[in-house]
């Protein structure tokens, strides 16, 4: 793997499969009485959050702690209008504190690239969601969750439904799932597709009902109500009617098809409560898997010197190659 994880597109198929395999080992650990590994003892992981996201921060924090890393949390609010804490100054401060990895969540697309490339920091940078750009660990945990239910993703059909235009989850998933051999279909009203989406190598559709029967997994994206005010769609009711996943539509799915959502959900908007709580829903499992996947990412980026899990068969040569 590269030194940083900035984009899901940075991962080769081998990289991605290594993360998923390592995550599986980490996941197995969750079922044991002692959930901590010494792998990153003495290493420091900094969570730098310039945008609120309690769940993502907690997930990374749990991941780092289970690998025995020291964790520093830094939160700053801001936006392009009220710049607030400068990314650069914060990076310099944390650099002085000896961070080995910086997990960064930022409202500005590209902020993790700046952190990795502007010479402000020598740490490994993990993109924990930047603006409307990418969220690669979310894509990894989604892929991990899918493989647990569907097995190999080669040729599997994945539908991603909702506000593609503003979704970093959609971008990262489109990249990673293709790397893993899946066939991705993005579904949205035309207003919520970015220009040029036809060059992403994915299928696109405006018609959810046409896509659902063929899908092996359906991922619903959050749609903010405020988008209505900017005329992306006329009303919540119309959006739900055309693009929401309700019990009727769920009936069109194949038996094995799973329903996913990166959270936080807006029940009644893009997904109804009965679907979110149904047997097909793996939404809660996505959260659990998030910790395992982030453990794997931190472990691989920081090149843990010992095998991640003592009982595993991981050999050291592999680790060196992939550190």
């Amino acid at each position: 793997m590269k030194k940083h994880l900035l984009s899901a597109g940075d991962l080769t198929r081998d990289d991605a499969e290594l993360v998923l395999a390592t995550a599986a080992e980490m996941r197995a650990l969750a079922d044991r009485p002692i959930k901590k590994l010494p792998a990153l003892r003495g290493r420091t992981v900094v969570n730098m959050f310039f945008e609120d996201s309690t769940r993502t921060r907690m997930s990374f924090e749990a991941a780092a702690k289970r690998l025995s890393a020291d964790v520093i949390n830094f939160a700053a609010k801001g936006s392009s209008l009220s710049k607030g804490e400068s990314l650069k100054d914060t990076a310099l401060t944390l650099e002085a504190m000896g961070a080995d990895a910086v997990v960064v969540r930022h409202w500005a697309s590209g902020a993790p690239h700046n952190l990795a490339n502007a010479g402000w920091s020598t740490s490994s940078v993990v993109n924990a969601g930047d603006g409307t750009h990418e969220h690669p660990t979310q894509a990894l945990l989604d892929a991990f969750t899918m493989t647990r239910h569907l097995g190999d993703l080669d040729g599997r059909r994945i539908a991603i439904v909702g506000d593609v235009l503003h979704s970093r989850v959609a971008r990262s998933n489109a990249l990673l799932l293709q790397t893993l051999g899946a066939e991705v279909t993005l579904v949205a009203p035309p207003t919520l597709f970015p220009l040029g989406v036809e060059t992403w190598g994915v299928q696109t559709s405006y018609d959810l009902d046409a896509v659902l029967p063929k899908a092996d997994a359906v991922m619903m994206l959050r749609v903010q109500r405020e988008r209505m005010n900017a005329s992306y769609f006329p009303s919540v009711r119309e959006y739900s009617r055309r693009y929401g996943l309700d019990a009727r539509r769920m009936g069109a799915l194949q038996d094995h098809t799973i329903v996913m959502h990166p959270g936080p959900m807006i029940r009644g908007m893009e997904i109804t409560a009965d679907v979110a709580d149904s047997e097909r829903s793996v939404i809660v499992e996505q959260v659990t898997n998030g910790v395992a996947v982030r453990m794997a990412v931190l472990y691989l980026l920081l090149g843990g010197s010992e095998p991640a899990v003592s009982t595993s068969s991981t050999n050291e040569g592999d680790e060196e190659n992939n550190a």
């Binding site: 697309s109 902020a111 490339n117 409307t132 220009l195 040029g196």
Partner: protein
């Protein structure tokens, strides 16, 4: 009093000849000019072998930042940069603080230019009070002031209100003024960060669509035709804009347009670095747009090259893309980029360069003593340029107070060797004189 004999200069790239400057004028042009013994000691002889002589360049679009942002640029440093780039006249945009929307502010800028003395500064007056797009500024007072303003622009902002734009176009006819429009439909570009296209979608940066520029240009061309006034289109950047201006000209309408050096060379691909040094407004466009802008400049659809020199302090560029300021330096690299993109490619001759970078911008700005041919009796505004050398751009070596050049580390052809403003050197041996 300064007297200069420029030996073996190639006027507009033609045959080598001598040019003698005296009294602020081009006194004589000819081969093997000899100077009378009596004045010989007072004459500075410059060997211009291999150098091209061009009329002093005129920039219709410069941000000098003074008053208000003297941390980014001052009239003094900005005009030093201009002189080093071969300019003898620049038009200082109105988006200062306070805004140049009164006779007082334009006279202040004009006076600062005279005091600095590196090149003539012609202030641009704001079209609307405070650039707010609500109410016409006192255009007549600025026109009648010592600064003799003829170019009016809210640059940085678009005069979006069609009624206000119509009135401005009509009103400036009284003093032969021109409205220079920053064509950007504001609703279509809210929080826009880069060219809207395949790449903006991938990068998750909000798009600045070509249509937001083209729609305003089309509207303004129609308005200018309707009221019979002069329109100038600032920093045209898209293939569609070239088509619209070409169409307007074919109708015989009084429309002129400018292109910036960066839109002749750089493309939106650079945004993939997320390095805000490439953030500019209007944004860098696609390679197809660059080709169309070059073609438009070559066939005369685009009348001039203007720099849109936009200095910003380091901290406004050393940050996240979305938080960074729009704009890039341009004065000290403009001629080299025009050489690289237009002359070395065979699209323009040096005579064409004189037209696009001196005569035409002076005509649009209604300047009398700039943009004149290199001929006996004309004002001695002359640039000596060496097209044969290449140089590596060093941001730290620029005269501008700011460092936001997108060309740092790039190898560019050509170098300004000397600039004369009314017979007095402002640059000699490539350095400020």
């Amino acid at each position: 009093m300064s007297r200069y004999l420029l030996k073996k200069a190639r006027i507009l790239g033609g045959e080598a000849t001598d040019i003698y400057l005296e009294d602020g004028r081009i006194f004589a042009i000819g081969s093997d000019l000899a100077v009378a013994d009596a004045i010989a000691p007072e004459v500075e002889v410059i060997d211009a072998t291999g150098l091209i002589a061009l009329p002093g360049l005129v920039d219709l679009h410069t941000h000098l930042r003074e008053p208000g942002r003297e941390d980014a640029e001052t009239v003094d440093t900005g005009t030093q940069a201009a002189a080093l780039g071969g300019f003898t006249a620049v038009h200082a945009m109105a988006n200062t603080d306070p805004v140049a929307d009164t006779a007082g502010v334009v006279e202040q800028v004009w006076r600062l230019g005279r005091e600095a003395g590196h090149c003539d500064v012609f202030p641009v007056g704001a079209v609307t009070v405070g650039l707010k797009g609500e109410q016409l500024a006192e255009l007549g007072a600025m026109a009648d002031s010592a600064a003799r303003v003829r170019v009016f622009s809210d640059d940085g902002k678009c005069v979006a209100d069609p009624v206000l734009m119509r009135r401005a176009l009509e009103y400036v006819k009284a003093f032969d003024g021109v409205v220079a429009q920053h064509a950007q439909e504001p609703r279509l570009t809210e929080d826009a960060q880069m060219n809207e296209g395949e790449l903006s979608g991938r990068l998750g940066l909000r798009g600045w669509p070509a249509v937001a520029e083209e729609a305003i240009i089309a509207r303004d061309c129609l308005l200018a035709a309707h009221v019979g006034s002069r329109l100038h289109v600032c920093h045209l950047s898209t293939a569609g804009s070239v088509e619209i201006v070409r169409w307007a000209k074919s109708k015989g309408w009084n429309v002129t347009a400018e292109a910036c050096p960066h839109h002749l060379l750089l493309t939106d691909e650079l945004a993939a670095t997320y390095d805000p040094i490439y953030k500019v407004n209007p944004p860098l466009r696609t390679a197809a747009d660059v080709e169309a802008v070059r073609a438009g400049l070559a066939d005369g659809t685009i009348d001039i090259v203007a720099t849109d020199h936009a200095p910003h302090p380091h901290e406004d560029k050393d940050c996240e893309w979305q938080a960074a300021a729009f704009g890039m330096l341009g004065l000290e690299t403009a001629l080299s980029i025009v050489q690289a993109t237009m002359v070395d490619t065979g699209a323009l001759t040096w005579a064409d360069v004189a037209e696009r970078m001196s005569y035409a911008p002076a005509r649009i700005g209604r300047l009398e003593d700039h943009g004149r041919p290199l001929a006996e009796g004309e004002p001695a505004n002359v640039v000596l340029y060496d097209p044969a050398v290449t140089r590596t751009v060093e941001a730290s070596e620029m005269a501008s107070l700011s460092r936001n050049t997108p060309y740092a580390g790039m190898e560019l052809p050509g170098r300004v060797v000397a600039t004369f403003l009314r017979g007095r050197p402002t640059v000699l041996d490539g350095k400020l004189a």
